[in-house]
C-alpha cells in the first residue's frame, strides 16, 4: 500500500555527467517495494507536481534512485544535501513479475535504474546500452555485485562494443537460455527487444515512462494504448507484458 514517507537523504551525488544517485534512509518503503515500482518525489512547495522516479535499489533499508538533470525540478533536487528530509510517495505501480529462473535485463540509459532493483532480487544477467563510456561505466559498477554477466554497448564506441543494445542481443540470447527478458529504456529500443523476444518465444516485460501528475491512477495523464484498451502507466504499469503494448504486425511506432 502506497504511503507518504519523510526520508532522510543519505547521499545525493553526481555519478556521471548530469546523472545523480540519491540514497534515502527509508526502511519501511524498502520493505514494501517491489522491483519495477516507482516513487513520487516532492521537490518543494514551489512545484505543482511531484517527480516520478524509479526505485533502483532497496537493499539494507535504503532506497536508491537515479535521475538525470532535465529541468528545474531535477535541478532543484540535485541541490539537496545529505541530512535533509525528502517527502516521497510510494511504492507506486505494479512491479516486475516474480521470477525463479535466470532472466536477461536489457536497459538503455536511465532505463537501467528499475532493472538494477530487479538484479538485486532475481538471478540475472544485464545488457547495458548507453551513448558514451561515461553513461555506462557507473552502471557497470552498480550491477556488478548483483549479476553474473554484464554485456555493454555504447553508441559512440567509446567503451565496450560499438552500437545499440539491440545489436548485441541476438549474440547474448544464443549463448544462454533465459526464462524472460525485462527491459526499460527508450521506446524504440524496447520495441526492438520485444520483437526479438517474441521471435525467440521468450516472455518479455517492458517498463514504460510517461508524464504523470498523481501517480495514483486518478488524473489519466499517463494513459497508453494497449491490446486491452487504454491503460494507466502509473497504476496498471509501469510494467507491461510486451505483447500488450506493442503491435508487431505494424511498423508504425504510434501503435
Amino acid at each position: 500500500m502506497a504511503k507518504n514517507f519523510e526520508a532522510e537523504i543519505l547521499s545525493n551525488e553526481e555519478v556521471a555527467e548530469k546523472i545523480f544517485r540519491l540514497t534515502l534512509a527509508a526502511p519501511e518503503l524498502a520493505e514494501i517495494s517491489r522491483a519495477g515500482q516507482f516513487v513520487q518525489v516532492k521537490i518543494s512547495d514551489e512545484f505543482t507536481l511531484r517527480r516520478p522516479l524509479g526505485i533502483a535499489s532497496t537493499a539494507g533499508g535504503r532506497v536508491k534512485i537515479f535521475y538525470r538533470l532535465v529541468g528545474r525540478g531535477t535541478e532543484n533536487l540535485s541541490k539537496k544535501k545529505s541530512g535533509e528530509r525528502l517527502n516521497i510517495l510510494g511504492a507506486l505501480g505494479n512491479g516486475f513479475s516474480p521470477c525463479n529462473r535466470k532472466i536477461l535485463l536489457v536497459g538503455g540509459g536511465m532505463g537501467l535504474a528499475p532493472l538494477l532493483c530487479a538484479a538485486e532480487n532475481y538471478s540475472a544477467d544485464v545488457l547495458i546500452g548507453g551513448r558514451t563510456s561515461d553513461e555506462v561505466i557507473f552502471w557497470q559498477e552498480e550491477f556488478r555485485p548483483h549479476v553474473e554477466k554484464i554485456f555493454i554497448t555504447t553508441d559512440d564506441g567509446s567503451y565496450a562494443k560499438k552500437g545499440f543494445a539491440i545489436d548485441l542481443l541476438p549474440e547474448v540470447l544464443s549463448a544462454e537460455n533465459y526464462s524472460a527478458i525485462f527491459t526499460c529504456g527508450p521506446e524504440i529500443m524496447m520495441r526492438g527487444i520485444a520483437k526479438l523476444a517474441k521471435e525467440k518465444n521468450l516472455p518479455c516485460e517492458v517498463s514504460f515512462e510517461k508524464r504523470m501528475a498523481c501517480g495514483l491512477g486518478a488524473c489519466l495523464s499517463c494513459s497508453i494504448d494497449t491490446a486491452r484498451g487504454r491503460k494507466k502507466v502509473c497504476k496498471d504499469g509501469p510494467i507491461f507484458d510486451a505483447k500488450e503494448v506493442f503491435d508487431y504486425e505494424s511498423d508504425n511506432p504510434e501503435n
Binding site: F47, L49, R50, G73, L216, C219, S223
Partner: protein, 313 residues
C-alpha cells in the same frame, strides 16, 4: 467533566458541517472532477466520508479514449492538461463503477455531452440511488465536440441546464468556464434556467511551446491551466458571481490551503473544491479541513456558514 468534553467534541465536529442543495456535508470541501478519479484511488490517504463529496471524473454518453500525445506539463505555479475526457462512458459507470463506490462518499457525477439532448439523457440516467448531485461540465477546453461550446454562450448554457433539470430529481450543479468575457451573464442564465448550484472555475485555456523543437508541448496544442496560478482569477470570478446570483456557489481554482479556501468563502462560496493540489499531496483535503476548523475557531465563529460572503468592501 465528561459532559463538557462531549459537548466540545460535538462542537468541534459541527463547525464545518453544512448543507448545499439539500445535501448534508460533513465538511464544505469537495474534490474537483478530473483530479480525484472515482475517489477510491485516494482511499489510502483521505477519509472519503469526511469530504463534502467527490466530483468524479467526467462521464460522457459513450466511452472516450481521450487525447493522444503529451497530456500534461508543469507551468509556473500550475499545470496545463489536455486529458480530453477519457472515461468509460455512462453505461459502464452505472453498472460497474457506481455500485462499487456509492456507499463510500457523496458522489457528484460530472457529465459532458455533445448536444443539449445528451445532457438531458445523462441527467435522466443518473437519477439513481447513490448519486448525490449532477455537475454539468460545460467548460472543458480540451474537446471539440462538447463542453465549452455550451459554457461560453448564455442561451446554450441555459438550454443545457434546463434539459438536465427537466430530466432528473437530483440537484443540478453547473460548472462554469472562466474562458468568457463576463462570467456573471452565463451564471444568471443558468440560474434562470433552474440550476440549483454553480461551481467555478474550470481551467483557463493556455499553451506552451518547446523552443528546441518549436512544437507545442501538449498533444492537443492547447490545454487547461490549473493550480495556484489561477487562484486570483477564480476568486475574482466567484466574488463577481456571488454578487450576481442567489443560488449557492462551489468555489474552486488553485486552492492549496485552508487560507486559500477561506478566501473563497469570504468571496461568497458556500463550499469549495480542491483540484490540482490533490496531485502533489493526496491527503491535502484533510489538512485543509483541519486547518479551516482552527481558522474558524480563531475567528470566533461557530460554523462555516458564518464566513460565507463576509468580505468587507
Amino acid at each position: 467533566m465528561a459532559d463538557f468534553s462531549f459537548k466540545s467534541l460535538t462542537c468541534a465536529e459541527n463547525i464545518l458541517q453544512t448543507e448545499i442543495c439539500g445535501i448534508k456535508l460533513p465538511t464544505p470541501i469537495f474534490a474537483a472532477s478530473g483530479t480525484f478519479g472515482f475517489g477510491e484511488e485516494f482511499e489510502n490517504f483521505v477519509d472519503l466520508k469526511r469530504l463534502g463529496g467527490v466530483m468524479v471524473k467526467c462521464i460522457t454518453p459513450k466511452p472516450r479514449k481521450g487525447n493522444d500525445g503529451v497530456r500534461i506539463t508543469e507551468t509556473p505555479s500550475g499545470m496545463l492538461n489536455c486529458i480530453g475526457l477519457e472515461n468509460p462512458g455512462i453505461e459502464k459507470f452505472l453498472t460497474e463503477i457506481l455500485p462499487r463506490i456509492k456507499n463510500k462518499m457523496n458522489i457528484i457525477v460530472n457529465v459532458s455531452g455533445s448536444s443539449v439532448e445528451d445532457y438531458g439523457e445523462l441527467a435522466k440516467l443518473l437519477d439513481v440511488d447513490g448519486v448525490a448531485a449532477i455537475e454539468l461540465n460545460i467548460s472543458c477546453p480540451n474537446v471539440k465536440d462538447g463542453g465549452i461550446i455550451f459554457g461560453t454562450d448564455e442561451r446554450q448554457a441555459a438550454a443545457v441546464t434546463s434539459a438536465a433539470k427537466k430530466s432528473t430529481r437530483k440537484p443540478v450543479i453547473v460548472k462554469l468556464s472562466p474562458n468568457v468575457t463576463d462570467i456573471t451573464k452565463i451564471a444568471r442564465a443558468c440560474e434562470a434556467a433552474g440550476a440549483d448550484c454553480l461551481s467555478l472555475i474550470n481551467t483557463l485555456m493556455g499553451m506552451e511551446i518547446n523552443i528546441h523543437t518549436w512544437r507545442p508541448t501538449l498533444g492537443n496544442i492547447t490545454g487547461g491551466l490549473s493550480g495556484g496560478a489561477i487562484k486570483p482569477v477564480a476568486l475574482r470570478m466567484v466574488w463577481q458571481t456571488a454578487n450576481a446570483v442567489k443560488i449557492p456557489i462551489i468555489g474552486m481554482g488553485g486552492i492549496r490551503s485552508a487560507s486559500d479556501a477561506a478566501e473563497f468563502f469570504l468571496a461568497g462560496a458556500s463550499a469549495v473544491a480542491v483540484g490540482t493540489a490533490n496531485f502533489a499531496e493526496p491527503s491535502i483535503t484533510m489538512k485543509i479541513a483541519d486547518d479551516l476548523e482552527i481558522y474558524l475557531q480563531n475567528c470566533g465563529l461557530k460554523n462555516i456558514r458564518e464566513l460565507v460572503g463576509k468580505i468587507k468592501i
